[in-house]
Symmetry: C2
Subunit: 349 residues, 2 copies
C-alpha cells in the first residue's frame, strides 16, 4: 500500500491510499480557496451531561450539488474538486465544514472510490480492504493527536438519512470527548465486569453465536448478528471473534476476511426490499454503518465492533425518530430481531 499526504489550497491535509506503489500523486490543488474559519464550539448540556457541538458555519455547506461539480469526484480539466488527482482509489481529507475542529476535535471525509455512481457494496474485496487500511491508519494517526478521546469511522448512505453528497464516501470524527453511546456502553461493561468477572461484549457475542436464530453471517474470524434488543428494523452487529479495543489491533487474517463479510452484508441490505414480483424499490437501501472503538480513557472493556442499520422498515416506509425516540431516547422497533435475521439470511447471494 502506498500512502501519500498533500496539502489542499486552504491548508487542509489530504491523504491518498493506493494499492500500487506506482500511483502518481503529484497533482497540486490549483484552486484559490480561502481557509474556512471554524466556529465549532462544544457546549455541555447540563440537564443531561451530554456535549453538543454548535457548528454555525456549517449552514452554508454544499447541499446536493449536481454531478458535474461533485466535490468528491477527481479533478478534471473543467472542474477542480477537493481531490486534485485525475483518479484515485481511496482518499481521506479534512472536512472543509467540520462539526469539530481545532481544540474540540477533527472531521475527515473518506472517499471510497472515484466512481461517482458506485457504492461501497460495489467495491472489489481488494478495494474494500484498502478502505479498511485507511480506517486503521486514521484511527492510529488521529488517536495520537493531543486532546483526542475517541476515533469514530462511519458511513451515512442515502438521501433518506440526509446525505447531501451522493458520491460514495464516509466520515471520521475524532472526538475530544466521549460520546453518549460510548459512555453508556463503557458504564454497563464496567458494571458487568464487576458483577461477573467477564467482559460484556465477549458474552454478547458468545450468546449470539450459540443462539443461531440471530446470526446473519458466521465467518472464521468475524460473526455478524442481529442484537437481541435491536433498535432498528434491520440492524446487524459485526464482531471479530477476538476481543480487541480498536481497528489497529486487527491481525492480517482478520483484515483479510473483513471485506468478504462486510461486502456481503451491504449487498444483502440492498436486496432486503426487493418485492415479491422481483421489482426493487427505486432507491438503494439507506443505511448507517458505525465502527465502535474503545476511547482512550477508561474504555478497556469496550470491544471493537461495527453496527450497521437501516431506517427503512418496508419497501415504502421509513422508521422515523419522533417523540418517543427523539424526545425520550427510547426506541420502538416494529420488526422482531429474529425475523430480521431470518430475512437477512434469506437474501444471501
Amino acid at each position: 500500500m502506498k500512502r501519500t499526504t498533500i496539502k489542499l489550497a486552504d491548508g487542509r491535509e489530504l491523504i491518498y491510499f493506493d494499492l500500487v506503489d506506482s500511483a502518481d500523486r503529484d497533482a497540486l490543488d490549483g484552486r484559490m480557496l480561502e481557509p474556512v474559519e471554524s466556529q465549532a464550539e462544544l457546549r455541555l448540556d447540563r440537564a443531561t451531561g451530554d456535549w453538543v457541538a454548535i457548528a454555525t458555519h456549517r449552514q452554508g455547506r454544499v447541499h446536493h450539488p449536481p454531478t458535474d461539480i461533485c466535490p468528491l469526484c477527481p479533478s478534471s480539466d473543467g472542474h477542480s474538486s477537493e481531490i486534485p488527482a485525475p483518479a484515485y482509489e481511496v482518499v481521506v481529507f479534512e472536512n472543509r465544514f467540520p462539526s469539530l475542529a481545532g481544540r474540540i476535535g477533527r472531521c475527515e471525509v473518506v472517499c471510497f472510490t472515484s466512481e461517482h455512481a458506485e457504492s461501497f457494496a460495489d467495491l472489489s474485496e481488494d478495494r474494500a480492504r484498502l478502505v479498511l487500511e485507511a480506517w486503521i491508519d486514521r484511527t492510529e494517526q488521529l488517536a495520537s493527536l493531543a486532546g483526542i478521546e475517541q476515533i469514530y469511522c462511519f458511513e451515512n448512505r442515502g438521501a433518506e438519512i440526509g446525505v447531501t453528497l451522493a458520491h460514495p464516501h464516509g466520515q471520521i470524527y475524532a472526538f475530544s470527548f466521549i460520546p453518549p453511546r460510548t459512555t453508556k456502553m463503557v458504564a454497563v461493561a464496567d458494571t458487568h465486569r464487576a458483577a461477573t468477572g467477564r467482559n460484556l461484549f465477549e458474552d454478547l457475542l458468545a450468546e449470539a453465536r450459540s443462539a443461531a436464530s440471530r446470526v446473519v453471517i458466521a465467518g472464521e474470524h468475524w460473526t455478524a448478528f442481529v442484537p437481541y434488543a435491536a433498535r432498528w428494523p434491520f440492524e446487524v452487529h459485526l464482531y471479530p471473534h477476538r476481543r480487541i479495543p480498536d481497528l489497529t489491533r486487527l491481525t492480517e487474517a482478520e483484515r483479510a476476511e473483513f471485506p468478504v463479510i462486510y461486502l456481503e452484508l451491504l449487498r444483502r441490505f440492498d436486496r432486503l426490499f426487493i418485492q415479491e414480483g422481483g421489482a426493487a424499490v427505486a432507491a438503494p437501501t439507506p443505511y448507517i454503518s458505525a465502527w465502535h472503538q474503545a476511547p482512550k480513557s477508561g474504555g478497556s472493556e469496550l470491544a471493537l465492533h461495527l453496527e450497521l442499520f437501516t431506517v427503512r422498515r418496508s419497501a415504502d416506509k421509513l422508521k422515523f425518530l419522533a417523540g418517543v425516540e427523539s424526545g425520550m431516547e427510547s426506541f420502538v422497533n416494529d420488526i422482531s430481531p429474529e425475523v430480521a435475521a431470518a430475512r437477512l439470511r434469506e437474501v444471501a447471494s
Copy 2:
C-alpha cells in the same frame, strides 16, 4: 369540564373531555372490531442498559389514510371512526396499535379537535386549556396503574417526522420503565444536588432568565427559553417558575397562563420559515413537543417542563439524525442557540 368514559367495540377505553356539561356523549361504537392482540415486548439492550420495545403487530397499522376515512375524525353517517360521537372537543383513547400494552405500559391517542384540517396552534385558549386538563387527567389516572413508572405526553406534528395521520393529535405513553433521557436527567440532577445543595432545573431556569439572550417568552408564571446547549435548530424549553414534579401540581394561575404562552410559541414556530419576500414554505413547521415529568421512583429532582423542537433548519432543509446522532447519540447543531432565540422573538405576533 365534563368527562365521559365509554368503551369502544373492542373493549378499549375512550374519554371525552368537554367544556360544557351539556355535551351529549351517548353515541355507541357500532363497528365490528376484533380485539388486537398486542405482541409488544420489552427487551433490555445489555450493551447500553436501555429498554427497547419490540412491537411487531404495529407493521400493519394505518398509514396516511385519505381524509374521508380518517380514524380520528368524528363518526358520520357514512363512516365509523375511532370516535363514535358526531363531534367532539378533546378525546383520548387507547391506541389500537400500541407500542406498549399489558404489563409493559399503555399508549393513548389525544385528539386535540374534531377539525381535521386544523392544528394545535389554531385552537382557542379555552380549547388549549381543555387539552391541558386532559393531559393532567391522564397523568393522574395512568400514574395510578400498577407497574407504571412515568407518564409521557407528547405531540409529533408533520409528515417530515413520520406522522402518518394528519388529524391534529398527540400521544401519551405510560412507561413501565424509566426512559433513557429521563434516567440521564435524574442522574445529573442528583449529582448537582449532592455537589451544590441546589436543584439543577431551578438553576437552569434562573440562568436562562438572567441571561436574557436565550429567553423567548417571559410570562408571569412560565418562561420559554432556548437551552444553552440546544440539540435542535430551533428548540424551546418551557418551565413553570415554581418547581413541580408533574402536570397534576399546576395551580389555577399556571393552568390559565399556559395556553397563552404555548399557543404563541406554536404560532411562532409556524412563522419561522416565512421567506424574505413573505412567501411561506409549503408545509407547516414539523415539530415534536414533549412534556418531561418526574418518574414515580427516584425522580424527586426532575422538574416538570416542556421541550418543543423542530427538525427543520431552513426553509428547504431538515436536520437528519445520521451517523453522529443515531450512531453515537451525539448532536451537532448548525444554528446557535442565541441566534435561534432572537429569531423566535422576531416572529412574535
